[in-house]
Symmetry: C2
């Protein structure tokens, strides 16, 4: 749609990456997997699965989503696969967030100024 011919511009690819990352983060189980990898370090699948009520194959699919978003990597060690947090895509989320930052800061700043202009008696 946005490309020439059959498409695939650099911007399209970046947008698709962004979409995969946000979509991956939309699920609470996947966010919890990221938290576990962050707090407890790299782990095989079963160790991760022990933290959840769901069956292992379901977790495997979540790991696939995280892998395709670049948020985890796997390293084979014998018959186990050690999953590791890859935080780089989260930096892109932070970049996405950045232009909004002044909006919530303005709100806080505005509140501060409101309090500054308010007579002490009227303050909450």
């Amino acid at each position: 749609m946005t490309g020439t011919g059959t498409g695939g511009t650099a911007a399209d690819i970046r947008a698709a990456d962004e979409d995969r990352v946000f979509a991956a983060l939309a699920n609470a189980t996947r966010r919890e997997v990221l938290r576990l990898l962050r707090n407890e370090g790299p782990q095989p699948v079963q160790a991760l699965a022990d933290h959840f009520a769901m069956r292992r194959p379901s977790l495997s699919e979540h790991l696939k989503v995280l892998r395709e978003a670049g948020l985890v990597s796997e390293q084979r060690s014998g018959r186990r696969r050690i999953y590791r947090l890859e935080a780089a895509p989260l930096a892109e989320v932070q970049d996405w967030l950045h232009p909004y930052e002044r909006f919530w800061r303005e709100r806080l700043k505005g509140l501060g100024e409101l309090l500054d202009r308010m007579p002490d008696d009227d303050r909450p």
Copy 2:
């Protein structure tokens, strides 16, 4: 659901809020709506809808999702409803992101140290 008897702790409520925000951000149309409100200021629905290929009622549903996530607010002005960006929930996303920050910074830092230890001749 969130009553006193059947559960619904403060942590549950925060978790549900977090889930709504991440879910709202999982859609490219909704992220684009936020960007438009940020760049062009508060607008009625039709002005927003003009930027998309979809029909207005579909956009209305996206706005509902954003409203329930607290990411936009509406102000009635005659028969129009002016939507405004509410960035506060994005601060929670930033808070969520924060403990991961050192992971991608470590990666960059590690790269920097590698370059530091590398003889100048070997640098890329």
